[in-house]
């Protein structure tokens, strides 16, 4: 797939054209973008989208004993469960979540899982700083899809991250490149309480011993005291600018370090 039309969302009347997509379609677009890196069509790109209401889980969840029954139930109540190909944990999706996905090619020996997470955490933290928000990254026990690389504000989670690595076939057995997809899901607007109730019901129905705590999260509307179009006008240009800056700097940084073996 060539450069996706969403990779550089444009501003129209101060509001971006970031689309709200069905989860399967959005996740497929991300995988297509990753494949374009595997195929050598591009070295790096990004995608920003919002998602229709759904529960997105890693493939591992599909092997839980109660999964099929759970899937039917959540589909019935309007929360379809969609599988994703990155690791991590359950992520509730809804239009108030802003999804940012980056893909990039790297020499395998030049990148670690930690490095890849920082590739997405740092531009998001930078975008938030432009909004006057002091953000960091770290683990928040009790948060959704918890890991070491949540984006956090005041020790509360504002964005979750996950990643997928694809090996790029090489004739050089030592110097190998990889294609990496890193996703971030940013909480922009509530209501969050209902999200966590749905997630906790998912865990309960699948006999998973995890409980999401409401007070471990914060959404941008709570910090910026804006909502709807006004909130979107404020945050989307900053996120888009920050990701474009990331793309430019990544291309510059890697122009001399990739292995020419494809």
């Amino acid at each position: 797939m060539k450069q996706t039309q969403f990779s550089t969302a444009k501003l129209k009347d101060g509001v971006s054209d970031i689309p709200i997509l069905n989860a399967k379609i959005g996740l497929d677009l991300e995988l297509n973008l990753l494949q374009s890196v595997v195929d050598g069509e591009t070295h790096a790109d990004f995608l920003i989208w919002r998602c229709e209401q759904s529960l997105v889980v890693p493939k591992s969840f599909s092997h839980k004993a109660n999964f099929k029954l759970t899937q039917k139930y959540f589909n019935y109540i309007g929360w379809p469960i969609v599988l994703r190909e990155t690791g991590g944990d359950l992520t509730p999706q809804y239009p108030g979540m802003l999804n940012v996905a980056i893909v990039f090619r790297s020499a395998k020996k030049a990148v670690s899982i930690r490095d890849s997470y920082l590739e997405i955490c740092q531009p998001i933290i930078h975008a938030l700083s432009r909004l006057g928000i002091n953000a960091s990254y770290g683990s928040i026990n009790g948060a959704f899809c918890n890991g070491d690389y949540n984006v956090t504000v005041n020790n509360k989670k504002i964005a979750g991250t996950a990643q997928r690595w694809r090996q790029i076939k090489s004739v050089d057995s030592v110097n190998q490149d990889v294609a990496i997809l890193v996703q971030a899901a940013i909480l922009t607007e509530g209501p969050l309480t209902y999200l966590w109730q749905i997630c906790n019901e998912f865990y309960q129905r699948n006999d998973i011993n995890y409980f999401i705590e409401e007070d471990k999260h914060i959404a941008l509307n709570e910090i910026l005291k804006e909502s709807g179009i006004a909130l979107a006008k404020k945050i989307e240009p900053q996120i888009i600018d920050s990701m474009e800056d990331w793309l430019d700097s990544y291309k510059q940084k890697t122009s001399t370090t990739l292995n020419n073996n494809h």
């Binding site: 890693p58 493939k59 690791g87 690595w165 694809r166 057995s173 030592v174």
Partner: protein, 130 residues
């Protein structure tokens, strides 16, 4: 400190291959790989009877940190997969070279493993990474 096995062949993408006495090849991921990935939660292996090709994707390993391709070090037909990983994927972390194997292949050309790294070559590749 990662464990290595002298009798194995390695791919730089961190899979290992062991040639068994009957000529079949057992495949898994290295101790270094499982340490990097963290807690493994799911392994997607090829189906028994499927053809795999050397250096091409043959499955996926998913951990709490990331999901990553598994490459096959040899071409051939899959003759067994480690069903036990379905219920206990953590075995990959606990025993990457023994109980945590992924799948077994009847190879079409064992000499493909000549291109894989021996233990010293793999150690050198890891040191270069660091």
């Amino acid at each position: 400190m990662s464990e290595f096995r002298k009798e194995l062949k390695y791919l730089p993408s961190h899979e290992w291959a062991r040639v068994e006495e009957d000529g079949t090849v057992t495949i898994g991921i290295t101790d270094h790989a499982q340490e990097s990935l963290g807690d493994v939660v799911y392994v997607e292996t090829p189906e028994v009877g499927a053809d795999v090709n050397a250096g091409e994707e043959a499955g996926v390993v998913e951990s709490v940190k990331a999901a990553s391709d598994i490459f096959s070090p040899v071409s051939g037909v899959v003759i067994a997969v480690n069903e036990a990983l379905g219920d206990a994927p953590e075995t990959v972390n606990e025993s990457p070279y023994d109980d945590g194997w992924f799948f077994k292949v009847k190879p079409t050309d064992l000499s493909e493993l000549d291109d894989a790294l021996d233990v010293d070559g793999y150690k050198a590749a890891l040191e270069e990474d660091e």
